[in-house]
């Protein structure tokens, strides 16, 4: 991993099109300003990891009981309204 020191207001460039600027430092928090092309997705890492974990769980194999349960569920808007 490349480690760089930067002061408030200074930037780094990643390739031709991405710039990351230190726009604020308060205690243990650093505020970053990022300029990047629209096609580049920028995310807080912990959010991405949470989605990754959830996707892995969601991809777990279903047993035949669950498959039957899922396939038997019907849309039933009319009945829902009737019940209320």
């Amino acid at each position: 991993m490349l480690v760089l020191s930067r002061k408030l207001g200074e930037s780094i460039r990643i390739g031709e099109q991405i710039e990351v600027k230190i726009v604020g430092i308060e205690g243990d928090q650093v505020k970053l300003g990022i300029s990047a092309p629209r096609a580049v997705t920028i995310l807080r890492k912990e959010i991405y990891e949470d989605i990754q974990r959830e996707n892995s769980q969601a991809a777990a194999a279903l047993n035949s009981e669950l498959i039957t349960a899922i396939q038997s569920i019907k849309r039933n808007v009319a009945k829902k309204q009737h019940d209320k």
Binding site: A58, I70, K74, N76
Partner: protein, 145 residues
């Protein structure tokens, strides 16, 4: 084309049915081609065309939250090449629990598909009022609540 599916065995799929996910899905970066197949009345299976064991139960979020909404940023609209609102399909990935009534779905990061160009991605918003593990109100859906 011939694909192996987890729940429907080997299948012959029309290439035009394939939905491309240029970045895969988080945690599944190598799966760039999926097909969507009905799984009962309410759910579908989003099946990887490349790996039989990569598939997800998905559903229409609007069936569960009438007022569900997701605001697609320009970046995403550009990435998916969306030109008309009616070409956009939104699905949520279900994490199945036993019993099924305890299942949750990721209303936070929906799968967004341009149905015209057949390109999709899982959109992760910076902020959302919905959880990654939102309980699925199946009882309300079936009238058995």
């Amino acid at each position: 084309m011939q694909i192996k599916t987890r729940y429907f065995g080997e299948q012959d799929i029309d290439e035009a049915e394939v939905i491309t996910f240029p970045n895969g899905l988080p945690g599944f970066d190598d799966d760039l081609r999926f097909v969507l197949q009905p799984f009962g009345d309410v759910f579908s299976i989003l099946q990887s065309a490349d790996h039989a064991d990569v598939c997800f139960v998905v559903t229409n979020p609007f069936l569960f939250f009438k007022n569900y909404s997701v605001e697609l940023p320009d970046t995403l609209v550009t990435q998916l090449g969306v030109s008309r609102r009616e070409d956009v399909a939104v699905l949520v990935i279900v994490t199945v629990h036993t019993p099924f009534a305890e299942s949750t779905a990721n209303f936070n990061a929906p799968v967004v598909i341009n149905t015209l160009k057949r390109v999709g991605c899982q959109y992760i918003p910076d902020r959302s009022q919905y959880s990654v593990r939102e309980p699925l109100a199946i009882g309300a859906l079936t009238g058995k609540a």
